[in-house]
Symmetry: C2
Subunit: 126 residues, 2 copies
């Protein structure tokens, strides 16, 4: 069963209930999900997942997020071709953050940069 509802899915998702029971979601039902290039270690981007997005990421091999602005599921690369093939998925020690190691095709960032963190380095100092 795949949820087609328009909002974060919570326990209505097809996610394994043993995993769902452990998740500590934000007030809006989401977890931050870090996408990292599996071989180079580059941090590519941060997206958001509800239970169903995590389920789809675990079971389809394609990284899937919940778009907070568009309020819909978003399979990375469906529009751009810049897919993320899932290599591994881990929760952190508090079960409130996801780390997805992926093989990123092309640019992860919608600007065309390889990662979303390439363009805006802040100055350090006093």
């Amino acid at each position: 069963m795949t949820s087609t509802t328009g909002g974060p899915s919570g326990p209505a998702s097809a996610l394994d209930p043993r995993i769902a029971a452990r998740l500590k979601r934000s007030a809006d039902g989401l977890l931050p999900a870090i996408a990292q290039q599996y071989d180079t270690g580059e941090v590519l981007m941060l997206g958001w997942m509800d239970d169903e997005a995590l389920h789809r990421t675990l079971t389809t091999g394609r990284c899937t997020y919940w778009s907070r602005s568009r309020r819909e599921y978003w399979v990375k690369g469906d529009t751009s071709g810049h897919t993320q093939q899932v290599k591994s998925v881990a929760l952190d020690c508090d079960a409130d953050t996801v780390l997805v190691k992926v093989d990123q095709a092309g640019a992860a960032c919608h600007t065309g940069d390889r990662t979303c963190f390439d363009a805006d380095v802040l100055p350090l100092g006093e």
Copy 2:
């Protein structure tokens, strides 16, 4: 001036107002902050920063977070000794996420693991 208030600081922080004006904070005034080991690329942990935590991270050389559970600033390593020396700080393309490259002393995770993502790898597949 350093904020000593008990909540996310928003524009009351000493953060450079040109940076503060660009931030897209969550409803609770925070940004997720990814800490990455600068040389190995390991994703160590995810914490949360308000404007003042970002300011302190940029200006003190020590990674500083806002603890959502304790509702206080938290200089990584002050209790454990497992400090994070700041190497670089970047915003993402939407200015809603921070990537801090650090030199992590010892274990990043309170469990003693090197990273917070070492212990809970989820199964892939149908």
